[in-house]
């Protein structure tokens, strides 16, 4: 049944030059407004307003290209990019590659939003403040928290913000000198370790139990101390397994005097099913660009919405949008706030879309999202059984929520073809490569699909059929996967240069300098 024949596929190949090689001197992409004659007369030459040392001497070596050619180039580059909208993007576990409705793109593109300035008088931006405020109320209901801030520009940034609040909390209590440790788990997102570290904390990581995949509660008990500032934890971790003792974890930390931050970037299976606050967490963050359908934008703009319990609202970044006397306000008067983590109010475009998405779903729709996500995942697990070379990590736990981690250890051993080869080979079928897993690879040769509610049963069947096809092929002819991709816009690159100072090149100018002949004609 999963022996479906793959459809023919080939990516667009345009062999585009780097834009700095394009155009020719004198061409123009757009005309610039000149100053009016009257202004020209009234003011001096521009140079007289610039200290002479500060006048640019060399023209920047930017390309000079006419408009249709700029457009053509970037349209071609877009065609060489496999967006979620174009494919069965099930492979990117932890990323929740869900449908971003077009209607939301239209709404967020309205000048009533795009042409508003963050420092406008409150009274002139009541519309957008209303959306922020209403969406915060929705997020409170979804999470059980008391207040939200949308300032952080991504999930990691949300975690960093939470770490800053934990820091502030202990600082104000006068305990920061002692409380300098954050506990996390190895299967929590790397940001749950890296961001508190940036905020100045030492990190303790709990390792997963080899049988259950879950962090050991005994290890936690050993880890806590008077140095414990808090817990920053993902759940379900990117194994898709829900930690059933999560509230006990929280209790242990609380008893030790720490705060608990729930990384809910992967919340897609939990809408209306379980809430952070109900498990005792003090704070949490959501990735609005994932479960809340704001598009991933090639890697942002994004939002790591942070929510906190009533006790911690005072620490949230300023301003908070409040509603009083029928008017929305920006409340800056919050003396214990950590201040700003991002200039202005965050990537509010993500909030316009997310508000529109949630309000187009409702409570029933949201729950359907989660239920479908869970059904899809477990259906995929069922379909994946018996593919040669593939095993599910922690098979004793036979149920997963939003995602599931597999291993190609056996395939690798049998054929020499590893998970990165298979990922590259998948693309030859018009399916986005999968995400292996975050490091360290406790599960060897991992991969991590997340078949969220966007994908149909047929999509899942097809995706599994490609995994099977590629694994079968790896046994029959391992060379194909090892040298993949074959039907793509480019072929396998030499990874070596990326860590070699003599060869890496982050700009065209560096590339030209390091290569007598540029790569491309």
């Amino acid at each position: 049944m999963v022996n479906q024949q793959p459809r023919k596929y080939h990516a667009h190949v345009w062999d585009e030059p780097i834009i700095l090689e394009m155009g020719r001197k004198g061409e123009r992409g757009i005309s610039i407004p000149k100053v009016e004659k009257e202004i020209e007369k009234a003011v001096k030459e521009y140079k007289s307003y610039v200290p002479s040392k500060m006048l640019r001497k060399k023209r920047p070596k930017l390309p000079e290209i006419s408009q249709p050619h700029v457009l053509r180039h970037y349209l071609r580059l877009s065609q060489q990019t496999l967006g979620m909208s174009l494919n069965i993007d099930i492979g990117m576990g932890t990323c929740t590659m869900k449908y971003s409705p077009i209607i939301n793109e239209e709404l967020v593109g309205l000048p009533q939003f795009t042409e508003t300035h963050p420092f406008q008088d409150e009274r002139t931006v009541q519309g957008i403040l209303e959306i922020i405020h209403k969406f915060a109320r929705i997020m409170c209901e979804i999470s059980g928290m008391a207040e939200f801030s949308f300032q952080p520009g991504g999930g990691a940034h949300g975690i960093f913000t939470n770490a800053c609040m934990i820091r502030k909390y202990h600082e104000i209590k006068g305990e920061l000198d002692d409380r300098n440790e954050i506990i996390t788990t190895l299967f929590s997102h790397p940001a749950d370790a890296a961001c508190p570290a940036t905020a100045g904390f030492k990190i303790i990581s709990l390792h997963p139990d080899p049988e259950t995949g879950l962090p050991d509660i005994e290890a936690l008990k050993t880890a806590v101390s008077k140095n414990t500032a808090g817990l920053m934890i993902t759940n379900p971790e990117d194994t898709g397994i829900f930690n059933p003792k999560i509230d006990e974890f929280v209790n242990i930390i609380h008893e030790a005097g720490g705060l608990c931050a729930y990384d809910q970037a992967n919340s897609n299976a939990l809408f209306g099913i379980a809430r952070a606050r109900d498990a005792g967490f003090d704070m949490c963050h959501f990735n609005i660009h994932k479960a809340f359908s704001s598009p991933h934008g090639s890697m942002g703009p994004a939002c790591g919405a942070v929510g906190v319990s009533n006790e911690l609202t005072e620490f949230l970044p300023v301003p908070i949008v409040t509603f009083q006397d029928s008017v929305y306000h920006l409340d800056y008067d919050r003396p214990n706030s950590i201040g700003k983590v991002r200039e202005f109010f965050g990537n509010i475009e993500t909030i316009v879309r997310a508000y529109s998405w949630v309000i187009g779903m409702g409570a029933e729709g949201l729950k359907k999202v989660s239920e479908t996500s869970v059904i899809n995942t477990n259906y995929l697990i069922k379909k994946m059984s018996n593919i040669p070379g593939v095993t599910m990590a922690y098979p004793k736990q036979n149920i997963r929520l939003d995602q599931v981690r597999f291993s190609l250890e056996k395939l690798k051993k049998d054929s020499g073809v590893g998970t990165e080869d298979i990922a590259r080979r998948m693309i030859d079928f018009g399916i986005q490569e999968y995400f292996t897993s975050h490091h360290p690879w406790v599960v060897p040769e991992p991969f991590l699909p997340e078949p969220c509610e966007t994908y149909s049963k047929k999509d899942i069947d097809y995706w599994v059929s490609i995994i099977k096809y590629v694994c079968d092929e790896a046994y029959a002819n391992p060379e194909i996967a090892r040298t993949a991709p074959h039907n793509q816009s480019t072929s396998k690159i030499n990874q070596g240069v990326l860590n070699d100072p003599n060869n890496w090149a982050m700009t065209w100018r560096a590339h030209v300098r390091k290569n007598k002949r540029p790569t491309h004609k």
Binding site: P33, L82, M97, E115, A191, G300, K340, K457, S489, A505
Partner: protein
Amino acid sequence: MTKNRELVHPYIPNSVPEVTNEMLKEIGAKSVEDLLKGIPKRLRFKRSLNLPEPFLVEMELRNHVEEILSKNKTCKDYLSFLGAGCWQHYVPAVVDEIIHRAEFLTAYAGNTYSDLGKWQAFFEFQSMMGELLEMDVVSLPTFDWGTAVAFAIRMSSRMTGRNEVLVPKIISPERLSIFQNFCQSKRAPNNIDINLVDYDSKTGSIDLDDLKKKISSKTAAVYIENPSYLGIIESNGEEISNLAHNNGSEFIVGIDPISLGILNPPAEYGADIVCGNIQPLGLHLNFGGGVGGFIASRDESKYVSEYPLHLVSIAKTEDKKGFGFGFCSFDQTLYITREKGKDFTGTTVALWTIASAVYLSLMGPEGLRQIGETIIQKSHYAAQTLSKIDNLEIIFSPNFFKEFVVNFDETGKKVDEINKKLLTKKIIGGKNIANEFPNFGNSALYCITEMHSKKDIDRLAAALEEVLK
């Protein structure tokens, strides 16, 4: 046909009850509850979410959201003079077209094989910024200018092993607050102290004497902005650079990239690390959403090995016939080494870099020069015109680029009050900085760009005359 009770949602194909049932059967589960049993009962949410009635019909959803947003007054309907880190520049239609493309809009973490075009656009962004900045390494941006500088400060602290940084007193309070969060509370173990350097009260530029006084063997980096938060073009870049370098400190400069068609790039006066906001390069205001902060440096391992951000490098294919891209020194990011990585990155503002790449390729060197000239002449025309109004004073002329400070002390009216009156004339006045910089009295920061016509400026002047009389 769908039963009334079951919601079949257009965004959820498998919400069709027959499909759900088939799948559950295949799984061997009776209901979805079977699959949720890994969540202990005590943690299960017992009631329904108490959310507003949904708008399941797209037409009604559209009406609903449009109605809310229509309560905003925009900088399109109104004449706005706000800047302060989020500036109203013209966004060419081609820019919006490209970043609207479903491929770019919905791509994410795919590598160079599936997403060659996205990677190439990133590399082109870095490359064109490199030309503008005359620097060989440019990162993919982080969330904003403030965070970029904060990371740069932390980079220089790690590089120098020192834990103090000098930043100008005239700086965006928002940016400063971000630095503080990144440089950590004084109580935290490895904090970086932020010391403010005074300004020359006439020109608004860095007070070199104060800088000399404050720089020390603890100074990891000296940071300045050019133009500064209040619009002033700093002319002592070279001196400051020498001071920093002679002291073994890094010299970090924050810039407004749209000024670089006419202003000297910091590399020319010795900057080691350059940061800034890409918002002027093709991004809408988006209520402050359209910003992004890049870091650039020389192409030396000591810098490259400290970047927390993604660095896209070009790489030849194994057959040497083509090329692709990958992340340089990826191992130093959190993704590989977790808390041992260099600070952190994450999902940031990639789509904005594509916008900026398109913008820069449309503009070219001539476009940037012309826009620089236009802006500086228009802003000086505005300053000149406003300064003719009784009791108005422009502080810090004549070396400003697109923003300047207007002082209203002599008018006897508060900025807020004036701005309120301007609003009734559909004018959004400059940002009130009386609270941010009490030293400058009752002042506002006005911003002029290529989007302001002479008529607009004259209209402002007339309105101010009226409001002030």
